[in-house]
């Protein structure tokens, strides 16, 4: 058994300070600060190209920040000495394109990481997989392959796969953007349930309805900055910044 990360004292579950990200000469993030507390659901909205996805991907180091620090559970993620693989085990990630493993059945997809990383035995992982599939309403699809499923079903499997590692933070990168409209609801309802159970969540989304209903806090990003943040009420009905008003006029 590999050594587990020791628990550390921390003030914020997620603590991002002065985050900058360049892609060559293009500056995508221009100094982002954000704290997320345990059990909080934070939705990030904003126009395309505002840096929302890049910001989310910096949190688990899929993108390496150019400057600034990202701290999760008291660990600085972008520290060279950090054990990023261990830290990632605690951060579930759901992608826009699902990214299920096409050569594995649904059940294998979910069992794969816990077994490969020796977190669970095969039997434990299988039991976990079946209970997660039940939770997302797909227990009858256990032996199907991803390409036999609809987009909404695939995304629900992807959520189950992320949950199999027992993460205590879940990140969603536009989880419904690649879905046909009639399938958006089934994915959002799984996410809603997750939020209701107290999962810490950071969700990049275009679903303003979801943000309004579920988020504890809404972040509005544009041009690489956090322009405004507040409760859904504050952002959606009473935005202060001109940029926010402009954006909401277009999407609401």
């Amino acid at each position: 058994m590999k050594k587990e990360l020791e628990k550390r004292e921390y003030k914020h579950k997620v603590n991002v300070v002065g985050l900058h990200k360049y892609f060559d000469d293009l500056q995508v993030l221009k100094g982002v600060d954000l704290q997320v507390e345990e059990g909080e659901v934070v939705c990030v909205i904003g126009p395309s190209g505002s840096g929302k996805s890049t910001f989310l991907r910096c949190l688990n180091l899929l993108e390496v920040p150019t400057k600034g620090t990202v701290e999760i559970d008291g660990y600085v993620v972008n520290d060279k000495k950090a054990n990023i693989n261990k830290i990632r085990e605690n951060i579930g990630m759901v992608f826009q394109q699902f990214n299920l493993f096409p050569n594995m059945t649904v059940k294998k997809n979910i069992m794969f990481a816990p077994v490969d990383l020796k977190k669970m035995t095969k039997a434990q992982a299988e039991e976990k997989a079946m209970s997660l599939l039940k939770r997302v309403g797909l227990e009858d699809k256990a032996d199907a392959y991803p390409k036999q499923l609809s987009g909404g079903q695939q995304q629900r499997v992807a959520i189950a796969r992320a949950l199999a590692m027992n993460p205590d933070i879940m990140m969603f990168d536009e989880p419904t953007s690649a879905l046909d409209p009639e399938m958006v609801g089934e994915v959002l309802s799984v996410m809603k349930e997750l939020a209701a159970q107290g999962m810490t969540m950071v969700v990049v989304t275009h679903e303003t309805g979801f943000a309004r209903d579920v988020a504890d806090r809404v972040i509005f990003m544009a041009d690489g900055y956090i322009v405004e943040q507040g409760t859904p009420e504050e952002i959606f009905t009473n935005p202060k910044e001109e940029r926010t008003k402009e954006f909401l006029k277009c999407v609401l």
Partner: protein, 251 residues
């Protein structure tokens, strides 16, 4: 052009069978080595290290830039000569270990079979390396990201998630390379490697029965390639069947 006489000549069959056995043996051995050589150098090529990537590039540049026949001559004649010269210069060394090494190097020789297998391995390895690389780059970037975000290290994700998918895509090209290598053994006959073409040339030199002999030799190759093709079709079918079976079970 006396087919009947040739066909009933026991010496010919003996020679061709022993030659063909050599062909098959060296092909299998070379492919086994080339497979791992190709895999490793391909991983060099996609690694983050500049040095490893440079090694991969240099290897491909040399192998793809020179003909197989030159590579065979190089391994069989040029390399031993170089080693002998180095060995001779080390003979007078005052360090006992170097002097001993020099003594064995000064008379260094390589067997035609060994040289043939080394040549074919290096050659096929380079092409397989490119085949593997194309397979890996055909896999969506999201697969690596998904595996990494679950907590797998880069190597683990490569081994468990990317490679199984990539190799599957590569099967037809890998089989193609296998066929090429099987036939390339004939080129290696120039270094005195006694495979089937070498044996055939000797036989013809003795009997002048060109037409009959080469026809038989061609049939040997055709038979081997046909068998290889059938096996590869089976593998492909079996891989697709796994998924089809799952699909049927649902319906």
């Amino acid at each position: 052009m006396n087919f009947e006489k040739v066909l009933s000549d026991g010496t010919l069959w003996e020679m061709l069978f022993s030659g063909f056995l050599y062909t098959v043996e060296s092909t299998l051995l070379a492919l086994l080595i080339a497979f791992f050589l190709g895999l490793i150098t391909c991983l060099f090529g996609v690694s983050r290290s500049k040095v490893l990537r440079a090694i991969n590039k240099f290897y491909l540049w040399i192998i793809r830039g020179t003909p197989l026949i030159v590579q065979a001559f190089y391994i069989y004649f040029a390399m031993p000569q170089l080693i002998q010269v180095i060995g001779k210069s080390m003979l007078g060394s005052s360090v006992p270990m170097f002097a001993a090494m020099g003594a064995s190097w000064a008379t260094f020789r390589i067997e035609p079979f060994t040289a043939g297998v080394v040549t074919l391995s290096l050659n096929a390895g380079a092409y397989l390396s490119e085949i593997f690389r194309s397979g890996i780059s055909a896999i969506d970037k999201g697969q690596m990201e998904a595996a990494r975000s679950l907590g797998l290290s880069k190597g683990r994700a490569m081994y468990r998630v990317i490679l199984p998918q990539a190799l599957k895509i590569c099967v037809p090209s890998i089989v193609n390379q296998f066929i090429i290598t099987l036939k390339d053994t004939s080129i290696v006959s120039v270094i005195g490697f006694a495979e089937i073409v070498y044996q055939a040339k000797i036989y013809i030199g003795r009997t002048m029965d060109s037409f009959a002999t080469w026809t038989i030799v061609a049939c040997f190759y055709l038979l081997a390639v046909t068998i290889l093709t059938i096996i590869s079709k089976q593998i492909e079918r079996r891989m697709n069947n796994d998924e089809k079976r799952a699909r049927k079970k649902r319906v």
